[in-house]
Symmetry: C2
Subunit: 525 residues, 2 copies
């Protein structure tokens, strides 16, 4: 028998707590629909019973292809409550990719939102392990209706508890730009601890009204389905991330918190409806290094910007950029520059390191580049059914992020590049992030990306792709001169191409491989 003083950690306990402490409080909002926590927990039990009645056994995978709707939020509790493992699939993927993930994870059930039925329709018949496709809403797909699934359930209580906190609660497939996606395994313990860390660093409380701008399929929404529930905050669901809708909900629902990639923040800050939020707003951002420019803009709008950094392999956020000592007295641009660093390990994470090829710490000089490595409770258990990739990622006992950065004397880590994005020009490293941040400081620039293009003499040279703000038209030379005024001359791009938008992944990461192909295909000059 387990000692009375040890309860295995699981985020399931958070919904049990919310149902006990906030039974009548609104836990979930979807348009005009409001669901109290007591009812939400009852729904989780009903769905978990329905999954069990559908044949889901402990450890079985249940896949979801849904935008940020209450059904997917519910799945974060109901699937593990049934003993299952949640596989939340990226909604922007093609049918063939969805099929691969379902097959690779061995999912026995796939729940599809009606608006994504067209993605699944062409591959539904080819799914190898899925026994049942369930459809929410009406669409042209031969499938079980969601209500039909629910009808298999019951209200017979299930324990919001697990026997083994190291058991897998979810598998999240990385949207790798090369190779097949890998399934990142999250444990109950890791999800519990990361959720609490999100609560601490984003300062969530029972007063939180959290807007679901960040996709729940992305690292389980950085564990926020569990964290906001733990403290009895309110989830506000959101199907599509459109700045005008976000501003309307900020005003109408009194949103206090949202998470979003910097590119989404750029849209929010530059929307026609943008205005100062006097009662405050916490904006937690990650997915790409935010430029000091967008940090300063959001701060001007009344937001507290919490900048975090991590990967799918680290449950989303692993580090947080803590407000540097004396930063409130620093001038705003200096403060924003400091906050744009990736920072230090979150409260539940082991210390982050920047290391050389032999896993030795690089000097904390803010200059020497190394790879960012992590380990401990905020790092995945491994890649599902892929021991070779797992061993490679964990070589030397540390998870290798593939991100290159420097270590500052004050302990903060700052990314310089993805290992594959770094530009090596005449033997010198050029951080594309550094160049991008210099360009973004130009008042005419909305967004930009820098990639390396092959060069006969130097090996590689930087090229910038720039989206301008409406009504601005600086020349390429003006932007190049702007960068030369801020960085070493060799870091300035040789070439600037003006574009109307940048290619991005569904989570807002700029697809540099696409820009590199494009640069290669467009002879310079």
């Amino acid at each position: 028998m387990r000692p009375t003083h040890l309860t295995p950690l699981t985020p399931l306990a958070f919904l049990e707590r919310a149902a006990g402490a906030f039974a009548d409080k609104v836990g979930v909002v979807d348009g005009d629909t409001e669901i109290a926590y007591g009812e939400f927990a009852a729904e989780a039990t009903r769905l978990a019973r329905a999954l069990q009645a559908s044949g889901i056994r402990p450890g079985d995978r249940v896949a979801y292809l849904c935008p940020n709707v209450p059904e997917l939020l519910l799945a974060h509790f109901a699937v593990p409550l049934a003993g299952g493992v949640l596989v939340a699939i990226n909604t922007r993927l093609a049918g063939e990719e969805v099929r691969y993930i379902c097959d690779h994870s061995g999912a026995r059930l796939l729940v599809v939102d009606a608006e994504l039925a067209a993605t699944v329709a062409p591959v539904a018949a080819a799914l190898q392990t899925v026994e049942d496709v369930v459809l929410t809403g009406d669409a042209d797909l031969a499938a079980t209706a969601y209500d039909e699934l629910l009808d298999r359930g019951s209200d017979a209580p299930l324990a919001f508890a697990v026997d083994d906190e190291d058991a897998t609660i979810a598998i999240n497939y990385t949207s790798g730009t090369t190779g097949r996606p890998k399934g990142v395994e999250y444990t109950h313990r890791g999800a519990y601890l990361n959720a609490l860390a999100e609560v601490v660093h984003s300062r969530h409380s029972a007063d939180s009204v959290y807007l679901w701008t960040l996709p729940m399929f992305h690292c389980n929404g950085w564990c926020t389905p569990w964290g906001v529930t733990a403290v009895g905050g309110t989830h506000v669901c959101l199907r599509a991330v459109r700045p005008e809708v976000i501003w309307r909900l900020i005003d109408e629902r009194g949103i206090t918190h949202l998470n979003a990639a910097p590119t989404v923040l750029i849209g929010i800050a530059n929307a026609a409806a943008a205005h100062r939020v006097e009662r405050g707003l916490v904006v937690t951002t990650a997915g790409a290094p935010p430029s000091p420019t967008i940090i300063a803009q959001m701060t001007d709008l009344g937001a507290r910007v919490v900048h975090v950094y991590g990967l799918t392999e680290t449950y989303g956020p692993y580090t947080v950029s803590e407000e540097p000592v004396g930063a409130t007295e620093a001038e705003p641009s200096q403060r924003a520059r400091l906050l744009a660093r990736q920072g230090v390990a979150m409260v539940s994470a082991d210390p982050v390191r920047v290391v050389d090829d032999e896993l030795r710490d690089v000097p904390r000089d803010g200059r020497t580049m190394g790879e960012v490595v992590m380990r401990g409770n905020n790092v995945m258990k491994g890649y599902f059914n892929d021991p070779d990739a797992t061993a490679a990622a964990f070589r030397g006992g540390w998870f290798h992020s593939g991100d290159l950065g420097v270590w500052h004397p004050d302990g903060a880590v700052e990314l310089r590049d993805r290992a594959k994005d770094i530009i090596i020009s005449g033997g010198e490293n050029i951080s594309t992030i550094e160049v991008e941040q210099a360009i973004a400081q130009h008042p005419a620039v909305l967004e930009c990306a820098v990639v390396g293009v092959p060069h006969e003499t130097w090996g590689e040279r930087p090229k910038a792709f720039v989206v301008l703000k409406d009504g601005h038209s600086p020349s390429a030379q003006e932007l190049i001169g702007h960068v030369r005024g801020r960085l070493a001359r060799f870091k300035a791009p040789d070439e600037v191409e003006f574009v109307t938008e940048l290619p991005k992944t569904s989570t807002g990461k700029i697809q540099k491989f696409a820009l590199r192909s494009r640069a290669a295909a467009t002879p310079s000059g």
Copy 2:
């Protein structure tokens, strides 16, 4: 080898984090002395090395008898860093009690603050396991000087890590009013999780400036030494709890948070220097049920009152009184009445229950009384070297608090009494807490306590001991009438005795056993 994704939970990691993220930030304040987190962590290593050099081996107990000084705060990290177990002793105990605790815990070292040397002097020679008494400052006690102890240390790094998260980090002796004190064992895992829960519920952040009004020897200061450090807040030490000093520090140091028993809050709220704190202040209170009156008073002063409840056996707080839905719109006295309930389990605790003698839930009707029971990560490992007491406390797999309460329909628990304090009058239970809260609503009353006195006809009848505010002199009849206007007539005390102060334990609990003896010795009439 331990998997890369599992790091045993320990509060030691919190100081490592603070030293990494906030090396130059002030972590500890003591009068005019300010210690940065980098230096504080270095001191922890030095002291841990000194303890090891003094013969402390893994699992050895190290006792401290100190007020809230930096040395005791440091011990919360340095002792476990050395592999030891901290025994922080109540500073109000008599020498003989200190001796008992040192001997029972088998402490090998005892660190004594100079102002408490007189307590130890008479028993120092009788200590059976203590090999070394260390004295901070100058006093009349044959002992090793604290600096001499430190000189044995070194800066050779130690890992801020443990192999077993279920290992004991501290033993806290309960100041039981009957029998010998029992040693409550806290684990690294439990301390880690409770510390995070304190951070969440008291809303600590790197902006926290935390005033040490709560004794650190009491449940390790509710794990706050570890929690405030985890987020990089600042600790402000405090030797003696005096309202005028507290108000000076609130103003001069910009205190944002303090923890204190309701009796301390009464002193703070009624001090001459009391004034509204416009920038806000979080006051977390426990140790006795706060009256709605003091909650309303503190709220008027600009404080957010967080009411928590627990016991030494539950790492201090186990439940928190969450703001009820719609309470902000409720009238202030109604809101205060709801917040005065003990509430629901904290975020890291298993659900709290109120049960009958057979461990069955009592109805959630707000009327049926039962015993409050708990279990899980926020409950002690057991009583040190006392398997019988441990088995008795955990009978049926639940920790028995000995507190009687009711369960409200909204899930909140509300204490009615300690099992031994309840008054049974004519077969009816009378909650002394309920009667005290009614008396406290009278504008002339500063503080009061109600106990049962033997009565021929009814078995027992309530008697009130009342401390009046300066310049007030209501009659006993007036107060009795005041209670009759608020509660069932049979609950009103038959007798009121005006006193200048109430007997209290060092942690602010009113010693009802002393009042009962006094009532028995003073024939009524």
